[in-house]
Symmetry: C2
């Protein structure tokens, strides 16, 4: 029985379902479809979803007629043909996020995407009520991307056993790495859909070192099958990003060749071509590799963090997403006990340098529910300031590119049109600007911590002085009239 | 007429005066003495002090009998002989500061010196009342060293003309670089004596780029004569340090050979062998040069400042004095608008890494009197915290040497005896220590900004947890019982 997509629209996953197929080792079955649409022929892998049901998921990127044929090692799955119509994208659907070819991101339809990231590594491995709390928090938070692991996390504050794992367990609790627990994946997909509904991209971390289940040191064939399965299930979600690893360099069981092979598997099995990167602890990956679409990076120096965006952009010529520059919190770990002020300072530093700096939160809690891993409630002072920054980004005439500024204050902008200077921990009581007198600028004095914008009553041109309050965390924005 | 020192004591300058000598070009006269004391024969240069008076100043470093003979190009100054007695040092006199052969400083008598530096470049070029204010401020301040220029300063906030210059001016105001204004030097020496009385070392800056008088671009023979004259006059002061330059690399009229020649002149003409270094702006000097006794450095990176002490110690194997890591203030220059908190954070960072970080203050003022250059009153929040740090240093069993700490918190100490960990902008709510259980430690929780020390009621040993308040700028000190 082959069911075709009904009412499909562009940028929404379309699913071909092949039901009632009983096979002995369904996860070893090979299945893919060739789908031919307005943009040519695409190879789309299928997967087993339990209960005798196989699926082929696809993310069409334009309206039109799509014809398909299935190919399988199992006769009952092979040779299915058909066609389906895809309607135009809904107004709220913009398609997967890709790079703009430079240092920024945009959706498939050209809409700018501003990654305002956060991290909750293991939020989908928590009890249901907590997962719902996390979604509620995200609904009113400014974040447009969340880093989250497919595998559960074992670490400080992370000792509870998840209800489900990506793989089946037998009655003794032994994991069978040859069989996926489809209920885990279905549950994950419900959460992904909920993230999509509230406009949050899912930066999916495929491997990480914080493990007590053996998932950080599986055999190569298990790794590969897992990646193919994840790609087959998840590539048709418009809002996923692939992160090969959190802290790849701490995964001692993996070699550089493994990471390269993993990237190749995803490139082969993800017909959508989602964003892909790999995140480090002590040493960065070779982000020059062609499959790396953007730099996903954890600061290496304890003191010079988001300021490194300038150097990283020059080094790799790709968008720079600083997924970890320290978290707001008060735990006993140096990566997780910044003030909100310092996290926001780093975020602005990285932003005006043309990068994207992410949020994280690690406040000590009796119940061990810390946002950075389990989600739950946001307690910190920084999310409101991320919201303020997001508004500044959305109000800008384009993505923020660095332009020459003062030696002590980085500046982003578009020459002759828009300038945004950030003073960080410095607190000048005034600053003098010298610009082309042909252009008049509206001058906004922005308190990035106090979240205020004060526009000077008169536009300024040429050389002019802007008075400042002598507090840290100020910015000055100039907008050409 | 030759007058011998009366009532001389060790570590106090002794002066041989040769009066009533009328010569046509007194500043071109050569004069020196050979002085033979308990430690052998020393060549001591003399100088012309106006009114027909020449002087030979010497700083004896031990009690005993000293015999001398003068040598001069002028017959009336040549061949004077005599001897004088030097008594033991007063209890408060410890002699010139030198390095301890490692990364720290001690006086000639072995007493530890903790440089807690400040800067007031042009304080002795200000009106007398302001100079007295500066001295009053220093009297109640914690600083043990002040950076100050021999030449006046021309710069933002520095436009007033000094009453006296090191060189004579004619009736038209033209400077005669061949004649020193002895009244300038006598006035300077009075100020030096007053600094000495209140326990402040004078870090004398011999050249600097901020000039409208031509002193930054004098002829080589004028440079050399100036240095010889300064050395002859000032070497016998126990508390002077030589700084060849402030921001040598901005002095475009000087070449590397010039700096090396200047160092050689001071080495020849300073029989006391005072500390000597040279301070940078954008690029550091080659502090490996043998005449460089210690590293005097301005931070180069805007973000990673005193944290660099670790690297600088390794690079040069000399004491590291961070004379500029940014100043507390609110002017429009990035080097002068830090909060007190950030300056003190940098200071502690550098301190527990085994360096010495200095103070500076630049608050905008209507009257253009900013401490960093003109002195006057201290207005900032950091001096009290420098005083607190000074007390911590004085209470330590020895100079602070870095020892292995946590990855996120530098630590100074003496293994098995004393540990001082600093958490900076991080704010852990607790920290766990693991030490040899054979030793019990008194645990002090130190708020470096709040200036409090809370000693836990019970000594701790082995592995123990120390609770912290979750604020930035905390330190933990462990003292073996």
């Amino acid at each position: 029985m082959c069911t075709l997509p009904q009412g499909a629209t562009a940028y929404r996953r379309a699913e071909i379902t092949l039901g009632g197929v009983a096979v002995r080792e369904p996860f070893r079955v090979t299945l893919h479809a060739e789908i031919e649409g307005p943009h040519g022929l695409v190879r789309v892998p299928g997967f087993y979803d339990g209960g005798g049901v196989f699926r082929v998921r696809y993310l069409p990127e334009s309206a039109g007629r799509y014809a398909f044929r299935t190919f399988s090692s199992v006769a009952a799955l092979d040779g299915h043909k058909g066609a389906f119509e895809v309607g135009p994208a809904a107004a709220t659907d913009h398609g997967p996020v890709r790079t703009d070819g430079g240092f920024h991101f945009r959706h498939a339809d050209g809409t700018t995407h501003h990654p305002i990231g956060t991290t909750a590594y293991a939020w989908t491995h928590q009890p249901d009520a907590l997962q719902r709390d996390t979604l509620e928090s995200l609904r009113s938070a400014p974040f447009t991307k969340i880093r989250m692991c497919l595998f559960p996390k074992h670490y400080q504050f992370n000792h509870n056993e998840p209800d489900r794992l990506p793989f089946e367990r037998d009655e003794h609790g032994t994991i069978d790495f040859g069989r996926f627990d489809v209920s885990y994946w279905q549950q994950l997909e419900r959460r992904l859909d909920q993230l999509d509904e509230i406009g949050v991209q899912a930066d999916l971390i495929l491997f990480h070192p914080y493990d007590r289940w053996g998932m950080a040191s599986m055999d190569a064939d298990v790794d590969d099958a897992y990646l193919s399965y994840a790609a087959a299930r998840l590539s048709a979600f418009p809002h996923v990003w692939w992160s090969l690893a959190n802290e790849f360099d701490l995964m001692k069981a993996k070699s550089p060749d493994d990471w390269e092979r993993f990237a190749a598997i995803l490139q082969r099995d993800d017909p959508t071509g989602h964003l892909m990167s790999i995140h480090n602890c002590l040493e960065t990956y070779d982000h020059d590799r062609p499959w790396v679409t953007h730099v996903s990076i954890q600061r290496i120096d304890l003191y010079k963090t988001a300021e490194m965006v300038t150097e990283w952009r020059e080094r790799w010529s790709k968008p720079v997403v600083v997924d970890e520059c320290g978290y707001e919190g008060d735990i006993d770990q140096g990566w997780g006990n910044l003030t909100g002020e310092e996290l926001i300072r780093r975020t602005w530093e990285g932003t005006v340098r043309g990068g994207y700096v992410g949020h994280g939160e690690t406040y000590l809690a009796e119940n061990e529910v810390l946002w950075w891993s389990k989600g739950g409630e946001l307690k910190g002072t920084s999310p409101d300031r991320f919201a303020f920054l997001r508004q500044v980004l959305e109000d800008a005439p384009g993505p923020l590119e660095p332009v020459p500024g003062d030696w002590d204050a980085p500046r982003a902008g578009i020459e002759g049109q828009y300038y945004l200077s950030y003073y960080g921990f410095n607190r000048p009581r005034f600053r003098t600007f010298s610009l082309d007198p042909a252009v008049a600028y509206l001058v906004d004095v922005i308190d990035t911590w106090g979240m205020t914008v004060e526009t000077l009553p008169e536009p300024q041109r040429g050389t002019f002085r802007v008075d400042l309050p002598g507090r840290p965390y100020m910015a000055v924005r100039l907008r050409a009239q």
